[in-house]
Point group: none
Chain length 213, copies 4
DNA sequence: GATGAATGAGCATTCATTCAT
DNA sequence: GATGAATGAATGCTCATTCAT
């Protein structure tokens, strides 16, 4: 795709890829991943179907790009918010609220992400996480991205004595799925107030995790 | 399929339908709804593809049967458990735990249900809940099934003074999505301890809802 | 299907066969031969699909019965009308008018007949007439039915000097297709006045065939 | 299939479409519309089934193209022939003869057209004319094509006094169905002399329409 | 860079027919 | 007599992908 003396992707290439990814996200948010085909994406982007496969080797690569894109956009919002909080309780609060803010601000991205996450199956029936295991194992999240793991926040709080005793992985799973619930709700009811919901979650997990005196 | 003066379904018919539904559930749990085709279901059931369509007018009817079957099986476990509890706090506890018990005992059913719920899209892109709205509006859940609505439990607790003030619909959404999270976790990690997770949830929502003295 | 000491078809058998044939005719007239399936016929008759194939070895036999039935019903109307006319001109007039009367009185039968005649193709693409050739060759129309051949009428008229010189087969083809046109028209426009049309045809072919002095 | 700024169909596209249409016509003429499937058309064209659906969105679009193609080819022959005749009687003669010439010269096209016309039923059982009503209402035949309406010829002749009094619509129906009869005859007997038949029709309708002195 | 052309695999569904009861 | 059960072939159609230009 590029010459030997490689200067990285050209401007056009990046623009086209971004455009295609954007159309894919909109489409997935609108009609669901399972109904989203390459030709529909191409149609919406106003290009030939083969153009999509020129920029992305196959459907899975496009999908992967979409997921990564959204994930990084979310991280860009959440990581700073969490870093700004010194305490574990503060970090947990920031984790929930900043996630909610991203979902509110980028509703379509969140819808697309959740839909892919829950709907995607490879030809052999593997889910996205199963497929991603290899690449993740090779590139475990480092530095800032590791901050996004709720298990770490909870363990931190238990170490500092802010939080009571509980299973950090289980509590983390509860936090994550409760937050994801806001996307599901939002897809059912477009008027769903994600931030109000997340504020409620902040209270819930504050009461549920803090050490009672 | 049957004449007017109807003696109800044959023995064979009930058996075959049950078998097909079972195969469908297994398959959906295994490879996901989007990868589940009628021919794969037939293959697993060891019958010709056309047999499936002999017993179910079309894919949607089969799907509907699957969903209803699983839902009723879940309700059969949950409703008695909740009725046995007099207090709202007890009912909430029973709601979470009995749901967890059903998920543990029928892991494949729960996986299939969740996958259908999140993946299904009609030809026009509608989700299952959107499609079901009409039938639900015509036949709103009555009697025992109404017990399964978590909003009612929470409002009850607020009326009796057991629970603090909060938005019942939002809290209910949190409860539901936290419970559903156990299925997602279970699909990612087959060894996930659903009951331990639900016990943790019981604590979380007990702390989060009870009136602090 | 019947015992050795054969008393011919039982009452039930004849009744069932008649009922099925009737339903087939209605259905073909309504939705066209190509959309008419055995299961639809059975459904309309209120019996199981296999019942239809119990009385008729296969679809073609049912079809054949339908065609024969309608043809004989038409002949029953037309033959007497033609016999009543002594002259060739009178017979031609009677041929057209009585055919029109049959079409008017049994619109569905006529529609079904025409639709089968034009639409039917065997699995190998043969038309109904091609398929029927063998049976017709073995049993050429005799006696009264031979009266229905318009070629004979025209040749008779030429022998008696009533008609001018023309090619009888070609003129006969013109007469037949003009009459059939009334069915086509009637299917397009249910209000089409078949008798008025046939009266016009009578005039047309009277003017067209008579010897001018 | 093509981008917005459109240079019109490619050479390949036009060629392939023409080839597919041609194969469809041959096949319909041979085995009838009801037995003609997309895969058979593709097989005859020597391409994959999906190629047919690459050029025609669905079977109906292909069908429509076939019908339009044949109709326009017929009109191209008939319109000039009729225009060349100044009198109504001449026009009527030209209408019949030029139609016959087209049928003789393009036997397969005529057979296909008639078969589609009589056999086609939409999924809901509508005939081709019923389906075409809307498009025809929006685009009524204009200019030259209006010449092809036999009703107009007959009314013209009555206005000029060339023709006697009769119902023009009924006479037109008779003319049309008599002509169509040549196609039916030709399909039954490949050696049928269409032009001789049409010449006979010319005489028939000349005698039948002209004002007797 | 971009795209038109082509393809094969798969899917849901329809249907005539066979067979055991 | 009647029917439920089962099946294989066929149909229209979608889609991701390949390839030559």
């Amino acid at each position: 795709m590029r010459s030997k003396r490689d200067n990285g992707p050209t401007f056009t290439e990046r623009a086209r890829r971004a455009q295609i990814v954007e159309c894919a996200i909109n489409l997935i948010a609108e009609i669901g991943y399972s109904q989203t085909s390459i030709s529909k994406i191409a149609e919406r982007a106003g290009v030939a179907k083969s153009v999509v496969l020129y920029y992305f080797a196959n459907k899975d690569e496009l999908l992967n790009t979409v997921v990564t894109e959204i994930f990084l956009a979310g991280a860009a919002v959440m990581v700073p918010a969490m870093k700004a909080e010194p305490t574990a309780a503060g970090k947990l609060r920031a984790y929930i609220r900043s996630n909610g803010e991203f979902i509110s601000a980028h509703r379509e991205h969140a819808l697309a992400m959740l839909d892919i996450w829950t709907s995607y199956r490879s030809a052999s029936g593997q889910r996205l996480d199963e497929v991603m295991v290899e690449s993740t194992k090779q590139n475990p999240p480092q530095g800032d991205l590791a901050e996004l793991d709720p298990v770490r926040i909870l363990e931190l709080g238990q170490q500092t004595g802010e939080f009571r005793e509980f299973s950090a992985p289980l509590m983390a799973a509860a936090v994550r799925s409760a937050i994801d619930g806001s996307v599901t709700q939002s897809s059912v009811d477009p008027g769903f107030d994600v931030m109000a919901y997340c504020d409620e979650l902040v209270t819930v997990f504050d009461l549920a995790t803090r050490r009672n005196t």
